[in-house]
Symmetry: C2
Subunit: 350 residues, 2 copies
């Protein structure tokens, strides 16, 4: 953990609190109180100290402050992959609010590796962040989940704050997108268009998000006598390339499908590219749907029918939860899923 770290500068030319105090002719205790807005300093004195601090360009040393028990001003954010638009937009929401609150954010991305995620959560906690936000689906794996839960619990017990996005089984503050409802809506849209030979391209079912979305889809399919279990389904990486792979395999296994539901937009984009390469018209021959409504979904050709999730807002709310005083019971905010019908879906050819 240290190895390649750069060495801290010895003193630096940065003024210290003692410099400010001396210059203002007060004790460092008074200076500290004045600058932190604590009680016990006269208004005139506080003003004087603040002025001197400004003149000297004084900025408190975060490490010293935190070590001494002051307020923390950094929060941690763990995502699967920051390069993904889904997570990038969540991060953007978090960063936006953080900046407004004068906080900075430490971000880790796990590359979708459960072990790495656990390690990173621990690292963030060790780094002394005041709050941790974990974004992205949890892993179904019992053992990992137990460890994550235990880690977060003990962090909470130590006074840390935690919020998760899309992981409703953890008993902590949660921002939960309506994965089930969204899955239901999109599947219902597809069947209501008349599709009955439907294929699904999915990420790993080890992700709870997938599980929930599939659950919603299943309900809609059941309503017309189908079901996820009896539907051709291919699992692949939850990415564009995974979508390509899955689409290829799906077309092989079930060449007669009239609709393909992808479990996120990235996979749908991959599927679209495969269909384009094959010269299969969308939605003429096959309809395609996504999930998330990443920014580019509207710019694809055909523009993508999908379920919109307010990613930025979700990030923002997660931070809000994390910043609000801890509650006895864990709170939950729901992020609405909204069906966005665009040009990639149509009734099947008869």
């Amino acid at each position: 953990m240290a190895g390649s770290g750069t060495r801290a500068r010895p003193h630096g030319s940065r003024p210290r609190l003692s410099d400010v105090a001396e210059e203002a002719g007060v004790s460092i205790a008074t200076a500290s109180r004045a600058l932190s807005g604590a009680a016990g300093v006269s208004e005139s004195m506080a003003d004087r100290v603040r002025t001197v601090a400004a003149e000297l360009g004084y900025v408190a040393n975060l490490h010293a402050r935190t070590l001494a028990g002051g307020p923390t001003s950094v929060v941690g954010l763990v995502v699967h992959e920051i390069g993904d638009p889904y997570f990038a937009e969540i991060a953007s929401g978090v960063l936006g609010l953080a900046a407004a609150e004068g906080l900075t954010v430490q971000i880790c991305h796990s590359g979708r590796d459960p072990e790495a995620e656990l390690t990173q959560i621990r690292t963030l906690i060790a780094n002394g962040v005041g709050a941790v936000i974990v974004a992205g689906s949890g892993f179904v794996d019992r053992e990992i989940r137990a460890k994550v839960t235990a880690t977060l619990k003990s962090y909470l017990a130590d006074g840390g704050r935690v919020a998760v996005i899309g992981r409703h089984h953890l008993a902590v503050d949660t921002v939960q997108p309506e994965n089930d409802k969204g899955g239901h809506a999109i599947a219902e849209h597809v069947v209501s268009l008349g599709h009955r030979r439907i294929g699904i391209i999915s990420g790993s079912r080890a992700l709870t998000t997938i599980h929930d979305r599939l659950g919603g889809m299943d309900r809609a399919l059941q309503a017309v006598g189908l079901g996820v279990a009896s539907t051709p389904l291919v699992e692949a990486a939850f990415t564009r390339d995974g979508g390509k792979e899955a689409a290829l395999e799906l077309l092989e296994r079930a060449p007669d499908v009239t609709a393909i539901m992808a479990l996120n937009d990235d996979m749908a984009i991959g599927a679209l590219s495969v269909l384009r390469d094959r010269g299969i018209p969308v939605p003429g021959q096959i309809s395609v749907t996504g999930f998330d409504d990443v920014a580019v979904a509207q710019d694809l050709a055909p523009s993508l029918t999908t379920v919109r999730l307010p990613m930025g807002e979700m990030g923002r709310q997660a931070l809000e939860l994390a910043l609000s005083p801890a509650a006895k019971r864990s709170r939950r905010r729901t992020a609405r899923a909204e069906l966005i019908v665009r040009a990639s879906t149509a009734a099947p050819r008869t």
Copy 2:
């Protein structure tokens, strides 16, 4: 800066170095040396301490370590907007290498506001990061630039490490994409197809990146008796919506253009959507080009002719520079620009 921060937990149940030392029956100095791999401890003793530490689940307190003069393990990254694929991919490169090196990354995004950027650089430095990476075009504004430079210089003088991406005028380690060369390549491609009535949609020229890209384009245009100065050019926000706006205005001002060069992919995407809305065939009637080659460029319809920049690699290299020991002279690494010809460009109708 403090205000909304959460309060640091008082003790927490986290084991401290003294706990490890006691358990192992040594002094904390020895324990510290053993864990940091410093000399002066016998191998057997070091092993014992490490074992105990592992058993106790000991993780060093970052703040204490840094305050005491240990190595820093967090680096700062400043980008314009983390939600943009361009910056998200840079961040992904940084995070990837950082994780491998056992470092964590504090990310700020300025929302393209020069003042905010300066503030955030200062905040990161105040937070005690060991290195800061500033990504994204610099602002041409003299005053701001001087302040940024001064801030980074004094940070460097204090032993901090700095690397910038795409800001060649700062005398610090730089990863520089070939903006000029890329601009030249794409413009040359367009004119070589036969286009002579070309429009440009651009972000603010206050960004050095834009300046450089336009410079390259100008050289290519000059070669056929044109030039940026005599070319219809619309400035707007460096985003998808900015691209829409700019495209609308451009079509009004110069309805007879046969090609539109956008200064990044986001703007090109916006332009494409306007053209689609208007029913203007691309590239049938108007060719469109972008810049950056964000992931979705290949998935648009038509797929986008653009200039590829290795964003992830740029981020990675920036961190590499920042981690390598400081050199007397500032180093520069060049990120190659590569023309990617896809389906959005064609010869003009005759």
